[in-house]
């Protein structure tokens, strides 16, 4: 048994329990939470380096052999997801240190936060569909709590929509799971893969595939199932919405990539064409929706949707280059999107509102905040040499390679429209002159706890942009494993390490 794989899951839960035990000592909860996220990040780095040197890592819990016990599997894709969870989790934990008051902290915020991180890591590591469902539920439970943290009236409105649609999605997932279990008699993904390739009732499998697509599509925010997302993401605390924006929809994308490569690979023509159409429409509707918004975080929320379209596009094109592009995009997007939400928090501190109409003059008051915004916004829109440029380049190149010119054109156009939204935010909140009494004052102090994570994430974007090659190689390796599921199957069922 490979003990290392357990730590990314166990550590956050340990931190959460310690925070619960320190209920009466919010200060200590705070420091435990920060130390917990740093240690978690270190463990995730260790896992990634192990995967890079030794290939796919498998842990059989309780040493029960593979199709019978619970398997934790970590290939390149999972390892990349883990490390981004570590990075975004740590950054938002630091930001929350600056954002929350002691009385807010006292009620178990950090416990929920770390349970959410633990659920994310569990979902990324699970090698078995039922456990994937359980981890999704763990995540949901924690995210419900975080979403209504603070209990302002708009949060209740948002939470109702978020809770109902997400419950529906998990019920759909469970339904698909039941049908798949009935068809194949197993829940281990590697084992299902072996059975599916020789299964005779392909039509039934395709029907089940579409149930899964709907379930994960709701989670990921695919067209036409995304309306819950912009209704909810702009209401909670900044740190919470940054964590959600960075991680939650991306778990849906991860699950789509995993399931539609390993499990439903019997009818690529049909399922992946459906995904392609959904991806193209997701990109378009997301970016057009953003153009109509006039609130900082709501614009960003709509952009999450259009970006999810890019990632699913990579899966739908189903070539090694496209998948590498999708994975590169995942890595880039999680960092940049979380950072943009954090920057919006700095804007909120300076201007006192996130309504673009009432904001303005931040560039004059705090030029470095404006620079931090510009780095992330340009990266999101895909300006060279930032990380978003390479991600978009890979995907467009991949779609041109297999003569999907229309999709490539949409991808380019959506990039340009992204610039439009970013310029809109820039003009309205950073550049626009305001009457002197409304201007944010130059002397207003911003908490260092908030600025450090924003700077760190911005630096990371620049670094990934300038040193794209190592990240690209990792994405290539991950795509290679996804395109050749027998590597995963061998590692899980026979303990063979490719």
């Amino acid at each position: 048994m490979n003990g290392l794989m357990v730590f990314p899951i166990v550590l956050p839960f340990t931190t959460a329990s310690i925070c619960l035990m320190l209920w009466r000592y919010p200060r200590h909860q705070q420091s435990t939470a920060l130390i917990g996220s740093l240690v978690h990040l270190a463990v995730c780095i260790r896992v990634l380096s192990t995967v890079i040197t030794d290939g796919i890592q498998v842990a059989q819990i309780g040493t029960w052999p593979a199709p019978f016990g619970i398997s934790l599997v970590c290939d390149h894709l999972s390892a990349l997801m883990l490390i981004i969870t570590g990075i975004v989790g740590t950054a938002t934990a630091f930001y929350a240190r600056g954002e929350l008051s002691d009385s807010m902290r006292a009620q178990g915020f950090h416990s929920l936060f770390h349970v959410l991180i633990g659920g994310l890591c569990g979902a990324f590591l699970s090698g078995d569909l039922f456990n994937l469902y359980v981890w999704f539920e763990v995540m949901l439970m924690a995210s419900f709590g975080l979403l209504i943290w603070g209990q302002k009236p708009p949060q209740f409105d948002a939470a109702v929509k978020y809770v109902v649609i997400n419950l529906l999605a998990t019920l759909l997932l469970l339904m698909g799971l039941a049908l798949l279990y009935g068809l194949t008699g197993t829940l281990n993904m590697a084992h299902i893969h072996q059975i599916v390739i020789t299964h005779e009732s392909k039509t039934l499998l395709t029907a089940v595939a579409f149930i899964f697509m709907a379930a994960f599509g709701i989670k990921a925010g695919l067209f036409p199932l995304f309306f819950w997302l912009p209704a909810a993401y702009h209401t909670p605390f900044i740190a919470v919405s940054a964590l959600f924006a960075g991680m939650l929809t991306k778990v849906g994308v991860y699950a789509l990539i995993r399931v539609f490569s390993l499990v439903f690979c019997h009818n690529i023509g049909m399922t992946h064409t459906a995904l392609l159409v959904a991806a193209a429409l997701t990109m378009l509707t997301g970016v057009l929706g953003a153009a109509a918004q006039s609130e900082f975080r709501r614009i960003l929320s709509f952009h999450i949707i259009s970006q999810v379209g890019y990632m699913v596009l990579g899966l739908a094109l189903w070539t090694p280059l496209a998948l590498a592009g999708a994975i590169f995009y995942l890595v880039h997007h999680m960092i940049v999107k979380a950072n943009l939400f954090l920057v919006s928090g700095l804007g909120l501190d300076l201007a006192g509102t996130l309504e673009l109409k009432k904001m303005g003059g931040i560039y004059g008051a705090k030029p470095f905040v404006a620079v931090l915004f510009l780095i992330s916004a340009f990266s999101l829109a895909g300006f060279p040499p930032l990380s978003g440029f390479w991600a978009k380049l890979l995907l467009i190149q991949a779609s041109l390679q297999i003569q999907q010119y229309l999709v490539a054109a949409i991808a380019v156009m959506v990039g340009i429209l992204t610039v439009y939204s970013m310029v809109k935010i820039w003009l309205a909140s950073f550049w626009k002159p305001l009457p002197p009494k409304d201007l944010p004052s130059r002397s207003q102090a911003l908490s260092l706890w908030k600025i450090i994570p924003v700077c760190a994430l911005a630096c990371l974007t620049v670094l990934i942009g300038i040193g794209a090659e190592p990240v690209y190689q990792l994405a290539r390796a991950a795509a290679h494993e996804i395109m050749n599921p027998q590597l995963y199957v061998q590692a899980v069922l026979q303990g063979v390490n490719p």
Partner: protein, 128 residues
Amino acid sequence: METALAILSGALVAGGIYLLLSQNLVRMLFGLIMLSNAVNLMLFIAGGLEYQLPPLIEKFQVEPISPVANALPQALILTAIVIGFALLTFMFVLFYRTYQTLGTIDTREMQLAEPPEPPNQWHEEEAS
């Protein structure tokens, strides 16, 4: 038996979806309860129903001699029921608090998070 249960779970799904489409939070809650029960039933049927014996192994044997009931779906359902119960409890509380805070259980009247734009906004700006 399986056919009857399959039809029953289909009927429960239909009823659940119908209730979910309502604008009333309480109806939506009942819809989700129905749906989650329908899905649990589906898990149960998926495991197969034909064998009546419990999955017990005789003394000095390593596997059951005669065909027995499939224990795995029952474990899965048990997990799903527990999780579903926790989520529904949370939803009860959330909906009640929503009612206390917003004073309504009609989803059409919940527009705090997404306030509608005033219709003549642009004309007003031009006029001023």
